[in-house]
Symmetry: C2
Subunit: 338 residues, 2 copies
DNA sequence: CTCACCTTATGGAACGGTCCACACCATGAG
DNA sequence: CTCATGGTGTGGACCGTTCCATAAGGTGAG
């Protein structure tokens, strides 16, 4: 029992397969009664077009591949939402693949996607450098969403304005009255940008001397350890701006384990506005990087590049916004400051 | 500039397209020097087989579709990991799709998957009832993973043993000395099973009278509200077993807002062992439902059903394990018990 | 009446693979 | 010398669509 084909439908409706094809693709060159007959036959047989045959013939798949780095860190969910809705409007499907999952298996997802002949590629977040992605991007329209690297010709970048976001977070803390502010830094270009935003604002407020940067990473553990180091050193900060929410949560744990009350004794800001930060038990002040918007614009960008593959590369930055929640407050005025 | 086809490779290597096909599919009926010539041509041209053409001809896609309900609740990540690794061993790819995302767009993913002619379907977690899934399951080998419904002919179920897991959680609490134990219940068959496990153990320990069940849902908000109700009523429990980690985190917030210290004044157990529960700031005692194993077995089950579509339905239950962390402790012995 | 033309329908050639049936060429047995 | 044998290689049908070139039939103008 093989699934019915367009020929089965044609036979049942008493027309040629070409006419069935016309009807299914919405041509207006068909007499209404024939159209009805075809649609009825489709219904009766439960016909579904074969995507492989269609894309073989049309020489496109109406599908874009989405490369994800790690599903465990949920910051990208909103982004995917925006991405999907815009793509859907243009009749494109989204194929998700978690790179970490497959890389462990020694499989390169870009290979899979090129074999599938996806019409486009979206790299979500910073991916480990891969020559295969480079090659793929040379052949398939590609957009990086929510990250700033790699920068390659014929490839666009859509991301939140990390430097601006970091500035917002830092200004928020300074605005509350904090002077000794620390930053738990992340890696890569994004880490660099957020650090730069932090340092710039501190400098502008004449606080360059009391600005502390502690290297962390993108994990809870990294945030925890960085916070332990920060609080163990002399001149401990009264406020900390963490690279992202996960690191922020780690930092939160460290602070509380060392007997500090947040936000009374220490203010803390994260980044990404993940649902983690929205949990009322954490209620983390954070920076919303407008991921939904980033996703939508990345989709738009990809659509544009699909229609004009050779146009110059573009970098779109979306403006983030501060999301003040429960982990930031003015510092307690202690007399022991120098 | 179209991507090279098997004919281009053949021409370059000076052989027929059939021979190229043989080489690429690893036949041993080919003379080594010809094989080398073909492989060299493949390399030089950067040839990648066209998946659409291949699956059209082979009449299978080597791809299974994975239906996900909601990426925001991360319990399934481990499951996907197990699923992916087992499928990969059999040369199958995984196509992920978030149902919630697409349902909002009025698109039915099962349609997409049937058009793609995926070789199999995995429904992860409890999905909203859909006649389309029913139809799809009738035509495509389908396995439900990490849920207990829907039950349809020619469809297998692989899940954690929820009743047993609930028993573990409840016994853990009773073993610590708790007598007034409450359960924040979930919905659906899984919710039912966990509640049943809870009630059975309470009964077995002669605690049926002090067993409280409060209806929640699968969200943080639901857990929060259920906990508020529990703590507001008379005979407040000293321990609570929540349907899942997310609800547990909500419950945790409620308890702390009402001035209770966890675990001193109240013990709390979640379910799923998500990374949420592993955050040191929450450090939630929970039940590990061996998702990785569930994933692997679901994959195995699907492979079996693909080879024998008509064999009787099977239900595989994987044994969960308690993960004791920081939110459970013996109750403080207060004199005011009746 | 003839012819151009428009609308509607059709056959058949792609699309890029797989795989079957068959051809070719040594080789060695009868 | 002939003929089965077996290892290698090839042509071509087929998978299920799309779409182009063209046919059939009706209509109105000249």
């Amino acid at each position: 029992m093989r699934p019915p084909t367009i020929r089965d439908v044609a036979e049942r409706a008493g027309v040629s397969k070409s006419l069935v094809s016309l009807v299914l693709r919405g041509s207006d060159q068909v007499r209404p009664e024939k159209r009805q007959a075809v649609l009825a036959a489709v219904e009766e047989l439960g016909y579904r077009p074969n995507a492989a045959a269609r894309s073989l013939s049309e020489r496109r798949t109406r599908t874009v591949g989405v490369l994800l780095n790690d599903m465990r860190n949920p910051w990208f969910v909103e982004l995917l939402d925006g991405l999907g809705s815009r793509l859907h409007d243009s009749g494109l499907h989204m194929l998700l693949a978690d790179g970490r999952l497959n890389r462990r298996l020694g499989e390169d997802l870009t290979h899979t996607f090129t074999e599938l002949r996806v019409d486009g590629l979206i790299a979500v977040g910073t991916l480990p450098p891969s020559p295969a992605l480079r090659t793929a991007a040379g052949q398939i329209p590609t957009v990086v969403a929510g990250a700033r690297e790699p920068v390659l010709p014929r490839m666009d970048i859509v991301a939140g304005d990390d430097e601006h976001g970091a500035r917002l977070a830092t200004e928020h803390l300074i605005g509350l009255g904090h002077q000794r502010v620390a930053h738990i830094a992340g890696q890569g270009v994004v880490g660099e940008l957020r650090r730069r935003g932090f340092e710039a604002v501190m400098r502008e407020h004449g606080l360059a001397d009391t600005a502390i940067v502690e290297q962390g990473d993108l994990t809870e553990e990294g945030g925890y350890r960085a916070m332990v180091r920060l609080l163990g050193a002399a001149g401990r900060p009264t406020a900390v701006f963490a690279f992202n929410d996960i690191a922020g949560v780690g930092a939160l744990s460290a602070a509380e384990e060392l007997g500090l009350q947040v936000p009374r004794d220490l203010s803390l800001v994260g980044y990404d506005n993940t649902y983690l930060s929205r949990l009322r038990h954490l209620w983390l002040t954070t920076v919303d990087n407008a991921s939904h918007d980033v996703g939508r614009r990345a989709a738009q960008c990809l659509l544009d590049r699909i229609t004009a593959p050779d146009r110059p590369s573009e970098t779109v930055l979306v403006t983030p916004a501060l999301k003040a929640r429960g982990t930031t407050a003015p510092p307690v005025t202690s007399g022991r400051r120098p």
